[in-house]
Amino acid sequence: MSKSESSDGNLFRSFFSNPTVGRILGVSLLVLILYGLMVGIEANARTLENHQNIARRIGEWGILTLGAAFVIITGGIDLSIGSVVCLSAVSFGILLENGANPLVASLIVLTVAGMIGLFHGFLITRLNLQPFVVTLCGLFIYRGLAQFLSLVDFKRLLDPALRGTGRILRDSSRDVGVGGRTDLGWFFWLQKGDFLGIPMPMWIFAILALIAAIFLHASIYGRYLFALGHNEQAARYAGVNTNRYKVLAYFLCSLMAGLGGILFLMKINSASPSNAGNWFELYAITGAVLGGTSLRGGEGTIIGIILGTAVLPLLKTLVIFAGIPSDMEFSAIGLALLLGTLADELLRRHSEKARKGA
């Protein structure tokens, strides 16, 4: 509607000066540049396998980014994503080790993850605690919990025959696996398989992104989320049950993290309680923000989030192909992001100036 009714009548200019469109164009450009550099630098980067690896990673991280975006749109933040991924991966592994059906195990893991999100939402809306603090505490708690779970010898705990034959708690935490099970292939296809050449995590992400896009951009719930992110008070005065939708955002975020945890374990059939999901909350937040989700709340688009998600996996791969030592990886990524942000800011200022001068 902005096009037909813009005051200057210049469709082209008003479309491109729209800040949301500008953001999306900016991040598209960034993705294109990174991709161009990657395939330009190294022949190995042009293989199908490399593309599949990147797509798989985009899928895995994109799921988390979608969750983070919901929370950020409401003006909140979730720092516990990585730890929820870890806790979910570890508990999923433990369930599998103890012979659980993978479907049942997934349902249990997702239920727990969802409850974690409800718990965050409860603390933030009912007790008025700050999202940063609540989820920062979560970051420590859930990882600690994962480490503890890996100590417990569930076989001894559960099997009456083995009871009393040794200590229930192991001496040190361990990597959790699948207990050597070979009957899981059909389920693990969801992580390891591909369909039409596209890895399954990418498919899962694509489907979830589609649902999220409809939810955010075409349903009344999305309107409520954006409204409350922009101005919570005004939303409340307009009859929006702001607390309910905030809780919903944290619920969805943790649920996505739970799903991320399940995929994490299935990737290499094991998860280490001290490393699994490390940094993932920051990857998710970075992806969302690069894609134009404002940390002040109330702004963001699914298309932007998809593009934003692609940046980090591309950057990581590029760093490897560019021959940068792995110890320098983080510095290189940080520097590249900083440069990208800087360029974006300069471009924005330039176009704003051009608009004012017009």
């Binding site: 509607m1 902005s2 037909s4 009714e5 813009s6 005051s7 200057d8 409809i214 075409a218 349903s219 009344i220 719930y221 309107r223 409520y224 954006f226 409204a227 922009h230 101005n231 008070q233 005004a234 939303a235 409340r236 005065y237 307009a238 009859g239 929006v240 049950n241 109330g298 608009r355 004012k356 017009a358």
Partner: protein, 504 residues
């Protein structure tokens, strides 16, 4: 004739396609109060920003004491004795009064550390506060002060910067009558001290009371000037709108169709957590405008919020069309046909960054979806209807409401509720920060609504508005109703008596 303290000549400023100011002139002399009036969008705030060094004009000259100057930043303007007090005060609530007075210019002990000197600042603070007649401890937190007192602190801060020209933008918009009177007194004292005060206000009665000269702006141009002797209400209105407006003309037929019908709203002893005494009791009948008067802080907005389910109710009963009802959240109130246009338009009424369409849709989404999916066409249609029926001046429904003038913003808030066709409309300060033209339109709209049988509860600190529009007036003091006045009993004195706590 003496040299003007500040002289502005042929100032022009363009923003994109809009000519905000074209060849505007203004002369200010020491020891005078000049009122700058004009509808929203007339260029008052741009002119003010030019004087305050916030906006650089495209053309024209500014002279101080006869010398041409350039004001490229607020700091430069302040250096030259021009001080600007914004409508939204630039004070830090979490700091003490003295810290606010000296923010950024703390008095120092000297020495390499440059520690702030508490004692010197405190002494100086007391002196400044005395100049504006404010008897408070400078070590108090600013948040403990009333809006009126904060305003005085802001003035004291300007004085501490040796302001010779003090520009005030709508200084009384959030003040109670008593505080307004106090402010006007302070302005007169400042004039005695040689300060030139530029007073920007929509409240023409205040302008009448305090101004030595009135300068009018219309569509970015000078619209005329009135000397002390010529200042009167009608003349000012005419200058602002360029035509004669009868603001307070009531419709000839006794408005309202259902005055003898049972009340659409009856409230009995409604109390919230801060309530004292008996709480609030009142009735509104269909087609009736019930005014709600009281001093700022009397708890009128809090009552409205409690009634609408935003604030928890502690006790009391609400009857809607005779039926006892429990309102726990805004959606309960909305389902019962209530609508609340809140006092704080920018924080509670609107989402400034969102479009006109988005804002209008928000409380109406329950009727604009199929299976929870948005009906974009219907949303657009509703918004366009609103723009048309309330004559909202805009380039389109996609425009962010933050870019609209106060009057047009208020119309957006009104329409977003009117679309629900409420039976009872609660208006909290419906014309605050709204220009005369839009004010007239809002009054007409209220009369239209009452003619259709809508009951209106109007909270207002604008006594004139209350006196002219209300069929009955309920007065509040310290979170409870202290009395009710019929049209025959209505007078400024009667309202003030009840508002200050005398029982009827």
């Amino acid at each position: 004739m003496q040299t003007p303290l500040l002289e502005v000549e042929r100032i022009s400023k363009r923003y994109g396609g809009a000519q905000a100011l074209s060849s505007v002139g203004l002369r200010l002399y020491p020891s005078e109060v000049v009122a700058l009036i004009g509808e929203n969008g007339a260029g008052k705030s741009t002119l003010m920003k030019v004087l305050g060094g916030i906006v650089t004009p495209d053309e024209g000259e500014i002279r101080i004491d006869g010398t041409p100057v350039r004001l490229n930043s607020p700091a430069q303007a302040m250096e030259r004795g021009i001080s600007l007090i914004h409508q939204e005060l630039n004070l830090a609530d979490n700091l003490s009064i003295e810290a606010n007075l000296f923010l950024g210019r703390e008095l120092r002990w000297g020495g390499p550390l440059g520690l702030a000197s508490g004692r010197a600042m405190e002494a100086k603070s007391r002196e400044l506060l005395a100049r504006v007649g404010l008897d408070v401890d400078p070590r108090d937190r600013l948040s403990n002060l009333t809006p009126g007192h904060k305003q005085l602190v802001e003035i004291a801060r300007s004085l501490s910067m040796h302001a010779r020209v003090l520009i005030m933008d709508e200084p009384t918009s959030s003040l109670a009558q008593k505080e307004t009177d106090r402010l006007l007194e302070v302005i007169r004292e400042l004039r005695q001290q040689g300060v030139c005060v530029v007073y920007i206000s929509h409240r023409l009665r205040e302008v009448e009371a305090v101004a030595d000269r009135v300068v009018g702006l219309r569509d970015g141009k000078n619209a005329g000037e009135l000397s002390k002797a010529e200042i009167n209400y009608q003349a000012m209105v005419q200058m602002m709108v360029g035509r004669d407006v009868q603001l307070h003309q009531r419709p000839s037929q006794a408005a309202g169709t259902g005055r003898d019908q049972p009340p659409v709203l009856r409230v009995e002893k409604l109390k919230h957590a801060q309530s004292k005494g008996e709480g609030v009791s009142l009735e509104v009948r269909p087609g009736e405008i019930v005014g709600m008067a009281g001093l700022v802080g009397a708890g009128r907005s809090e009552f409205a919020e409690t009634l609408f389910g935003i604030r928890p109710r502690v006790s009391g009963q609400v009857y809607i069309q005779g039926q006892p009802k429990l309102i726990r959240k805004p959606t309960d109130a909305m389902a019962l046909g209530l609508a609340l246009v809140p006092e704080d338009r920018r924080h509670h009424g609107l989402i400034l960054a969102d479009s006109i369409g988005g804002n209008i849709a928000l409380p109406n989404l329950d009727t604009h979806h199929i299976a929870k999916l948005l009906q974009f066409g219907k949303i657009r249609h509703t918004a366009q209807n609103g723009v048309k029926s309330l004559r909202i001046r805009t380039t389109g429904i996609a425009k962010p409401v933050g870019l609209l003038s106060g009057g047009n913003q208020q119309k957006v808030v009104l329409y977003k509720w009117l679309h629900r066709q409420p039976k009872l409309l609660i208006l909290d300060e419906p014309t605050r920060g709204v220009d005369v033209g839009a004010k007239k339109e809002i009054y007409d709209l209220m009369h239209d609504l009452t003619a259709r049988g809508v009951g209106i509860l109007m909270i207002s600190s604008d006594l004139e508005e209350v006196l002219h529009l209300s069929d009955r007036v309920v007065v509040m003091h310290e979170n409870q109703t202290t009395g009710e006045l019929t049209r025959e009993q209505l007078s400024e004195e009667a309202i003030m008596r009840l508002a200050t706590g005398a029982q009827s």
